[in-house]
Symmetry: C2
Subunit: 454 residues, 2 copies
């Protein structure tokens, strides 16, 4: 349908902006002085400002000096962990898990999860994130927050084999109950924690359930080199090979981190029957001083999408996907020893289409184009730090910051306008969360929800 | 003098904030519910909000929910190069210099430099930078901008030996004419470009002039491993050894980058007669895919201060020292393979006292304390991305962003209030700069100001 054919007012028209578009080869381009027409939560047309001037619309956003991007997607996080931001600093991975995070998580209540998720969603909306893939506990509370605040999410209830078969059953129950909820904004996954905390039988059962119910699987895999080496020493196979032999790679799978993916894993991933994607969250790899980062170049060569992520704020300290985009470019250049690799346009491709496919939404989001859901952020490039513009892709990736996002829109609904959040009351959330923190961070009981022993 | 002894109103009182302070061991602490009393451009007292409530003051800033930090210091930049932001992307160092930057810089006019510097100062004030060490051409224009906009700066006119002795003489002339100008906010340095573009005789003459006139020297040195290896192959000595044998290390010297500093350089730097500091700008090292970063740990072990920097925006893409602070922590952890190294408190020590000493202002800025110049930034920590606070140092370094700076003060004068710049008209600067860009970036002439051939 062309805009002029519309016989009723559009819901929203965004005009006078530059729009990031993809051509049929998925190359990034920028359409100047453009307008986006939104109806029923969907992009109806990307046209010119002049072409949209006379169209009727219930609401108009004049976005001069701004760039419209597909909303950022956080492909792997544990949103409620914002409650623990800064609690476990400067520690090696094992101490971070065993001495702080897993003891504290044994105190978690559904209310803590709800408040943490609400604060996290506020942070993400402010940072231009329109969709996130969450992997945590008490996910009913997270689903409730997503429904209320207007974000889009791929949600999975995490489990360990130490919980017995009930963990897996709860994860399936969650996935089936919430799939398609929040007007379709919630999709779901089965969420085993990782091959080092979920046994082979449990992974195989998960793979069967995923197949039966057409659910994707979201889990940590080959997070770092230590995990791969331990797996090889104990089982003779890498974590990725464990995923193959248990059938997980026959499902649509989202692998978090993968900095421990080694050369022998590449043919395994390449022949995987399901859609395989990896989420990269490079800040945490630097902070934990892991020796590697996600092998993005090798993964791209075998056609695996790499989405951008932040991991949880207890390790990453923020849910700033914009920073992940810049850091992915910088760290990949350094890691490959090649300044020509992972250009700003490549980074924007990771941030848009690859991230959308990674969370299973490759057909509905990740691009501003007719029939895609209207998940859009408007970025203000009039600040002195983003001028002048010689290369708009570079300006976006390397000079702009998440705080330059002025407006965040999901399904055509404005969740933040001119930096003001419209669906979350942050002071109220923080007030109640802060009252609960002493009980949440108490470790005097000596319990933990799981042991880290890769 | 205690506040109560003041017999006339203070110029400024900032109250109800948390103040970053240093104890007599230079450890970072945070004084809650504090007030800062400013008179004649200097901090007169750091007291309690209650203690300052009844003091008369010409101006008051109520800063609830904010943290007062010593203003950030950009220890090495080429401010006017913001005009080239994004012009030379994804290139190896040699092509970046020879194919883009040095050809373009052959077009530079004093007006380009002035406009670039003004835009850069706007960016820095917005990012909480109160002082910068600049190393560029046509520095009279930069000095003029600094005088007008209210920032503090260490300025040096850059030169190559290819310019003949006139380059060195202009650098000296600039340093003597501007030293102490702008009400003392401008200090100056001699600014040879580097040991690979300035010959030994010229460096030796520079060292003699520095000694005669009590001027510091600011130059690029051992920027990367290639430069060190080339120097060894051609001259049998490292760039740092060149600086020693030419007498540069007998002066107070600020070395930019130093990612090519090798083990044999450490005793050389340790025995240097002058005050030696290194400026680290880690973003560019990642972007150029240099194999190393500044060896901060080794430098700290021999007592060398390491200040934070951004380099120019043509390589770094921004003048965001806050990002340099976070990246220094992250990259150093990764580089050392040690997550316990370069904690947030260490990062804040680099950002404050070490950076102040690096630019030769160790006695006057870098700390919020009586008799220090009132160079202060107020950072808003009420955003969802900085809550809750379990560890304020970590919140500042790893969760906060430069855009959280609300107010920037130099010598007690407010240069930005609630994100609004008070001394620079950005749209006017950008309008004129953009008109000049086509002539500035023209490379059809085939000239360059210098060859990169380390």
């Amino acid at each position: 349908m062309t805009p002029s054919a519309a016989d009723s007012p559009a819901d929203l028209i965004i005009s006078a902006c530059t729009v990031l578009v993809h051509d049929d080869q998925e190359r990034i381009g920028f359409q100047q002085d453009a307008a986006i027409v939104v109806r029923n939560g969907v992009v109806e047309a990307v046209t010119t400002t002049a072409g949209a001037a006379d169209l009727p619309a219930a609401e108009r956003l004049e976005a001069r000096g701004q760039v419209a991007l597909p909303g950022l997607i956080n492909c792997h996080t544990h949103a409620p962990m914002v409650a623990l931001r800064g609690l476990a600093e400067d520690l090696p991975t094992e101490e971070w898990f065993n001495d702080v995070v897993w003891p504290v998580e044994s105190n978690l209540t559904e209310r803590d999860v709800e408040l943490g998720a609400r604060l996290a969603c506020a942070e993400m909306i402010r940072a231009g994130v329109t969709c996130f893939a969450d992997h945590y506990f008490a996910m009913d509370a997270v689903a409730q927050v997503v429904a209320e605040c207007g974000l889009r999410a791929l949600l999975g209830e995490a489990y360990f084999s130490s919980q017995g078969p009930e963990g897996r059953e709860r994860s399936l129950d969650f996935a089936l109950r919430h799939r398609g909820s929040a007007d379709g904004r919630i999709t779901t996954a089965l969420a085993p924690h990782s091959p080092y905390t979920v046994g082979d039988a449990d992974l195989a059962a998960t793979a069967r359930l995923a197949g039966e119910h057409a659910l994707p699987v979201h889990l940590h895999a080959a997070e770092n080199r230590d995990q791969t080496e331990t797996s090889l020493a104990r089982h003779g196979v890498t974590p990725i090979e464990v995923l193959e032999r248990t059938g997980i790679l026959d499902t649509d799978v989202l692998l978090a981190h993968g900095t421990g993916i080694v050369d022998r894993d590449l043919p395994v991933l390449e022949r995987a029957a399901g859609r395989t994607a990896v989420a990269t969250a490079p800040r945490g790899y630097l902070k934990f001083a892991w020796p590697d980062t996600t092998p993005v170049r090798a993964l791209r060569e075998i056609g695996v999408d790499v989405g951008l992520a932040t991991d949880g704020a207890a390790s990453n300290n923020s849910l700033d996907v914009w920073e992940s985009m810049a850091l992915t470019s910088l760290v990949q250049k350094s890691h490959e020893g090649d300044p020509r690799w992972l250009t700003s346009r490549q980074a924007l491709h990771h941030a848009t289409l690859q991230s959308a496919r990674a969370v299973g939404l490759g057909d509905s989001v990740g691009s501003i184009a007719p029939e895609r859901r209207a998940d859009i952020v408007l970025v203000d490039l009039t600040g002195p730090h983003t001028l002048p513009v010689h290369d708009l892709a570079a300006t976006l990736v390397h000079s702009a910051r998440s705080a330059d996002v002025r407006t965040t829109i999901v399904d055509g609904r404005i969740l933040m306008r001119d930096r003001a959040l419209l669906t979350i009351d942050v002071p109220a959330v923080v007030r109640e969360l802060e009252e609960r923190l002493p009980a949440l961070v108490d470790r005097s009981h000596g319990r933990r929800i799981q042991d880290y022993d890769t």
